[in-house]
Symmetry: C2
């Protein structure tokens, strides 16, 4: 299990690069011609044979060109792919787009999704901020009309959750304020576990109904709230040739629509890991059988003290990893920057 020679690495890198572009099996002759290599196609064939035996390449059928395996992609991403930044003009453009949306935090998320989809040419996912240890700071109850009220829940990290709810009975505004005030006094500073502890005391009081919702929201804040996950670029992805068979396309679409699955994936990968960088998951390795023949490039944003979310892109195995990683890294860093700025007390912009 010695490492690969320099020439083998070169062949693998070029092959991956070419295959990502063309989606067709790459032949030895093609590689020599395209990149003006100073050794012959026969030599390339020999190297390919080695790479195939190592499990980095395979032939779709006897005597066809080679295609990278999952292992091949992984080696490429970990060892061969350079870390190049997004070109400066594009960085500027994206920054400008975020500047336009500087007053509206919710827009940051959809903008991120749109930027990722546009620049990576595959599908994107962006989750909202969430905290591991959510503590209640403050709630407000605002009467809107009839029995409908708006419950605003602010967490100690500055995260805001809003929830329209319908009360069982109509209450006057003063009573709403009183309920909010009581809950604030009683429960401020508590996390989900502590809230559960006092919930029994509130049985059959007027607070019960509102409190139940507060508890549920705080509890949900500990996992990614899947309702507000932003997605974009689905159509991008389906135009890739790997999804020409409708079965594949359907499968991938279901993966994309399945909230539980995505939640699990994101939280496990991004939040349980201590590595803060960009994660690249190529196909269903080990635990991620469900990903099938898709790859996910993902990173978290925010900071550990306040709250974190995740941004990522989902595409076929044959995707432009280098570009994808640069894009995800840039967007996640930008989001982190914007958020920490808006949380701070200084007057930047």
């Amino acid at each position: 299990m010695a490492g690969l020679t320099e020439r083998q690495k070169l062949v693998l890198a070029l092959l991956v690069r070419d295959y990502v572009d063309t989606a067709e099996p790459i032949s030895s002759g093609r590689l020599v011609a395209n990149y003006h290599l100073d050794f012959s196609s026969a030599t390339v064939r020999n190297e390919m044979a080695v790479l195939e035996q190592r499990g980095f390449l395979l032939q779709p059928y006897t005597s066809a060109g080679r295609v990278p395996t999952k292992e091949g992609y992984r080696y490429f991403v970990q060892q061969l792919m350079g870390e190049n930044e997004l070109p400066a003009p594009i960085q500027e453009m994206i920054r400008h787009q975020f500047y336009q949306a500087r007053h509206d935090v919710d827009d940051w998320l959809s903008l991120s999704a749109s930027v990722l989809a546009q620049h990576s040419k595959v599908a994107s996912i962006v989750t909202p901020l969430h905290t591991e240890k959510a503590r209640l700071k403050h709630i407000a109850l605002i009467s809107t009309r009839g029995r409908q009220v708006l419950l605003v829940i602010i967490l100690n990290n500055g995260e805001v959750h809003q929830q329209t709810m319908v009360l069982d009975e109509l209450l006057p505004r003063e009573q709403l304020n009183a309920i909010a005030e009581q809950i604030n006094l009683l429960a401020s500073g508590m996390d989900a576990k502590e809230l559960e502890g006092i919930s029994s005391k509130l049985q059959d009081t007027p607070l019960e109904e509102v409190f139940a919702v507060v508890y549920r929201v705080i509890k949900q804040a500990e996992v990614i709230s899947s309702g507000d996950v932003y997605r974009d670029g689905l159509a991008n992805m389906l135009s890739e040739p790997e999804f020409s068979e409708p079965e594949k396309a359907k499968q991938t679409l279901e993966l994309f629509e399945d909230r539980g699955m995505m939640d699990d994936l994101l939280s496990r990968t991004v939040f349980e890991s201590d590595a803060p960088g960009v994660h690249v998951i190529i196909g269903g390795e080990d635990t991620w059988e469900q990903l099938g023949d898709c790859s996910l490039i993902i990173a978290r944003y925010g900071s550990k003290e306040y709250a974190m979310g995740a941004v990522g892109i989902l595409g076929p195995l044959r995707m432009a990893y280098s570009r994808g990683v640069s894009t995800v890294r840039f967007v996640s860093d930008l989001m982190s920057e914007l958020i920490s700025e808006s949380m701070s007390n200084e007057n930047l912009i």
Copy 2:
């Protein structure tokens, strides 16, 4: 241009029914055998020839079975399709699901989307409530952390808009309250036009920044806010045989993702029309070229006094219209009912 005979109607109705099930061109013999008709296949062939000449049917190629045209579907929907209600047990089931979510208005929307997708087997779209004449009732500014504040805008119809915003400079809580109070005094009861009128007076005052956002939100409330449109059942739709060619699938997906298009479609169809019932748009008739080979079944919910939204399903031309219409009607009625209940002052539920 005389009407169709009873027998011609029967043939058309049965053919549409069979074709929706099988997705294959229907032959005269098949129709006679399946439905035990008391006339022969030759007679059916003659009737088919008439229907084809009228533009209701066509043959994919010479000497194949017949397939309904768009006109054929339209005639079927308008003249032949019976109006049957959703089966009572299913109605009960859906009501129960909504009952579970009775405290959370936002859940109604996603639940509607999910119910529609599940029962119609195609893709669904649900827009949030919106008003044509939005008037400001009341705003609240809640500090969350750093320069981030939550701006809550309540319209006179009870509609609530929330917007997280980032202020240019950090303001203490008292000052936020003061700003909110001043805006409430100044602008309460105004619509977008009137707000625009006073915006010049606020230039270079501390109110300017917040006021700009209030104005924008009210203005946006007059069109469907596309950000919060719920969708579901995409994967359903792509498993239909009409989307086996990737081009078609991509086209439809783009239609589905394109917010501007959908907004336009929904608002024009549902809100400009005075007919409150269920609308069926079959393929790109006249103005709706973009729909291509898809059909849309759509209805509004809510009430004209307060606010309205739209629920609908999007599928291939070959869809189960009868079932679709029943489902959309039931869901839209149920939503209207729930909303008017929650807006009223009585204590139902």
